[in-house]
Symmetry: C2
Subunit: 316 residues, 2 copies
């Protein structure tokens, strides 16, 4: 293996992912374990890191270790105060906190990002994905809209390589709560009988959010999954993707009405996240007329590399 | 006790309520048990009725028994097809189905109501509450907006005593799902430490739905409960009522944008439901400028009486 110059960690609630990077930031190898914040081994964070990366740490004693994600939250290894959005990348690089890892090895934790305002916005982990996207794309775009779909979707507006603002949607988590903990779940097929993605049902839900009926809002539209099913107008197996379409449709309607500038030319659109979810969002973006979205694979490793350079932890 | 001329039953998922009415429809006595659809005794529906009302049934063998609510659903005593909204009260009265109760006593089940359309609307139980409200108010109002807040809120638009249309909002159920089954619940005070209604927090949530930030929609605004708490701008004990205000605010925004006629004069406003919930909605209606709402107590008994008269089961 070529020389490892950075150990980058993407450490969230449910998983720990480690990327070994060479001197150009190229990922030589990636590994993961289930030792997210919720499932740490005896010995806690240091032990989880030793378990997954002990051989790398031993073989490359000088490679810095940089970790992003919920590992820097109040429930994490140490709480790293949010960096101010206005501070740009310098605030992120300058806000690293260091904890003591296996054998005293320093582990640098990336701060999350905060956007102040009457309704503040916060992210932790996605700020590094955004840097990774910018690292991958270069900074040439006048306007760039980055969508990070997930349990909580984040949308990030970037101009000339600088993040201007972002917003969050609890779409994924609310979708799960509606399916699993409301009346809507009672008539869904049993797990395992769900079948493949039903694009027609998804698009039907999307369309409702755009029709006059969409003005009633999601609290009302959600009930249509039930009433359409009761009247035989929506098949049992189509319900879940219909509901998903409703939610994503309302997310994009909110994004358009409350986040995107009304007078700007259409931005370049990039989606970054799981393939399945990104394909769903790309379909939705096309259908609601927001345009074609490029899909990038996970960009966290590239973001960690960029931040490590910026912080002077590595010299490319 | 005066002569009982009607036994009216309000039979829902979690409770059975019985009202003994005299020859003018006045309620002489009410009782209730926990024998809703979800908690029936051995012996099922007939036994539950016998348990709660056996003495009444024996003492007044000629009093008809009329039941509304989920008892007429597919999960109920017998499924009663929905009456068409266009058919008016006559369709409800003509759509009763009869099942055999204790000792062969006929029990008449009220149909629910359906409003056809691209997104159908259905109700079961609330149609009887609406009749009760009209029975109580008289039919003099040109325009009447009846709000029935609950697990699923219903809003009903009535002109000159005739229901024109209605819509549903899953507000109560989604509020519970957000509190109990998403990240938002993790920082709430323990049950029992919730404290009294925090009107300031509720109004703050209401206001967000009306501000420009409200255009982002509920999926995004819900996250502000978390971000405000994380930044110390919302106290732990204020979170729940803030979230409640957000949801009710979005319900009323949807009602205004998607249900109320844009050009009509303000209707007379009536709320019917639990006192606690109606007070919350009355406050919300005032704050968003929809006006003063009268609060009526539960109107189901009056509605059952009106329907029994219309169906010829009783002669006042």
């Amino acid at each position: 293996m070529r020389e490892i110059r950075l150990l980058g960690l993407d450490w969230g609630t449910s998983a720990l992912r480690a990327h070994a990077c060479d001197g150009q930031g190229e990922v030589l190898e990636s590994r993961h374990s289930a030792h997210g914040l919720m499932h740490l081994p005896r010995g806690g964070f240091a032990q989880a890191l030793e378990d997954l990366c002990g051989d790398w740490l031993a073989a490359w004693p000088d490679a810095p270790v940089l970790a992003c994600g919920m590992v820097g939250s109040a429930q994490g290894w140490a709480e790293v105060p949010y960096a101010e959005l206005d501070g740009g990348e310098a605030a992120l690089a300058g806000g690293l906190r260091t904890v003591s890892g296996p054998g005293g090895r320093p582990v640098h934790l990336v701060p999350g990002l905060i956007q102040r305002g009457a309704l503040p916005e916060v992210m932790r982990g996605e700020e590094t994905q955004v840097l990774g996207v910018l690292q991958t794309l270069g900074a040439g775009d006048a306007s760039l809209l980055i969508g990070l779909p997930g349990t909580h979707s984040k949308w990030v507006w970037v101009q000339h390589g600088v993040t201007q603002r972002f917003c969050s949607f609890m779409t994924g988590e609310i979708f799960a709560a509606l399916r699993e903990h409301t009346l809507l779940g009672r008539t869904l097929p049993a797990a395992g009988e769900a079948g493949a993605f039903n694009a027609g049902a998804f698009e039907r839900g999307l369309a409702v959010a755009r029709q006059p009926a969409g003005r009633l809002g999601l609290l009302s539209n959600a009930f249509s999954m039930r009433s359409l099913f009761l009247t035989g107008a929506l098949a049992r197996h189509a319900q879940s993707d219909y509901l998903s379409g409703l939610l994503v449709g309302h997310e994009l309607a909110g994004l358009r009405a409350g986040f995107l500038p009304a007078d700007a030319p259409p931005p370049r659109l990039v989606l970054c996240g799981s393939d399945t979810l990104c394909e769903r969002y790309a379909l939705a973006l096309r259908q609601v007329g927001l345009g074609h979205a490029e899909q990038l694979p996970q960009a966290t490793a590239a973001g960690l590399w960029r931040l490590a350079c910026r912080a002077g932890l590595v010299r490319p």
